[in-house]
Symmetry: C2
DNA sequence: TAAAACCCTGGAGTGCACTCCAAGCAAGCG
DNA sequence: CGCTTGCTTGGAGTGCACTCCAGGGTTTTA
């Protein structure tokens, strides 16, 4: 009988011998996939999928083939998480991951990619601030009109 | 042979008798779908789809059944566009549109929805600024490390 | 040692937001 | 009148980012 992997995982409590969900020092950093789930908020499915599409570096394995993530992998997932919520397509992140794997000679290209991404993020922040202004105006309008028109519901 | 609607539409030039792509005064505001395409950057497909799913108010029609958008419709599409780029799901915008259609008694609910959206936008801006800080640190690191020795992954 | 919980794989399925298709009607122009 | 371009519909297809399944092997707990 197969357990539904993504429900009922309370890996944050009683996860292991005395560690909480905190990071362990380098050298003891061999996290199971469910620990990484607790850490990142991603599902195990998604972590395996990230690996399949080439978004992850090579992940170490136990002698029986189970994944063992390192602190370095967690750092990488942190960056991926940040980039993800800027709206960067996964394909672009895969491109960046490829550049990292290819070694030092892709240095310049990575630098340019990061700078372009930064500009994208700046632009998105500006858009959102613009939207915020629109919402503020609408909310002010509603609040003002509410003084005059609100008859029921308060 | 059917024309591919979304390619080669040069509706911005030679669109009508002497108006450009600018808005016309109220009273003469009966825009065709392709004018709205030029105005909003959405495709005609998307505009019709918005209508089907209930995201638009009732759109006026010509005597032969073609859509004629008003300035008011353009304003609404402007708000939709803003909300869209905050990442708000279309279903939520449909909910808001329904409240508007239902009339004045949904006033309070709309107000609350707008305020909640504003907080979402604020949170997203904060996230992005956080991401920006991460990118800035990485970029500084890349710039400092120079071309010489750059082995990194975090 | 046995049950429960966890982890593995390739491939198929899901939800969202469009995006396009086919066939036909309509409108302006020479 | 025909030609070209534009607009109409319901329904099917696309791309992205997951999300889940079936059927097994592994590790931990009682």
């Amino acid at each position: 009988m197969t357990v539904m992997e993504t429900t009922g995982t309370r890996a944050d409590s009683c996860a292991g011998p005395s560690w909480g969900t905190d990071r362990r020092p380098d050298g003891q950093d061999r996290y199971t996939i469910s620990e990484v789930v607790a850490f990142t908020g991603l599902t195990a499915h998604t972590l395996r999928w990230y690996e399949r599409i080439g978004l992850m570096p090579h992940i170490d394995r136990s002698h029986t083939g189970q994944r063992r993530y390192s602190n370095r992998d967690l750092d990488w997932l942190g960056l991926v998480g940040k980039l993800r919520l800027t709206g960067m397509p996964v394909a672009d992140m895969v491109r960046y991951a490829e550049l990292v794997r290819e070694g030092d000679h892709t240095y310049g290209e990575r630098f340019e990619l990061l700078k372009a991404t930064r500009e994208d993020v700046r632009a998105r922040i500006a858009e959102l601030q613009d939207t915020l202004a629109v919402l503020d105006r609408k909310i002010t309008f509603y609040a003002d009109a509410g003084q005059a028109l609100a008859s029921e519901r308060s």
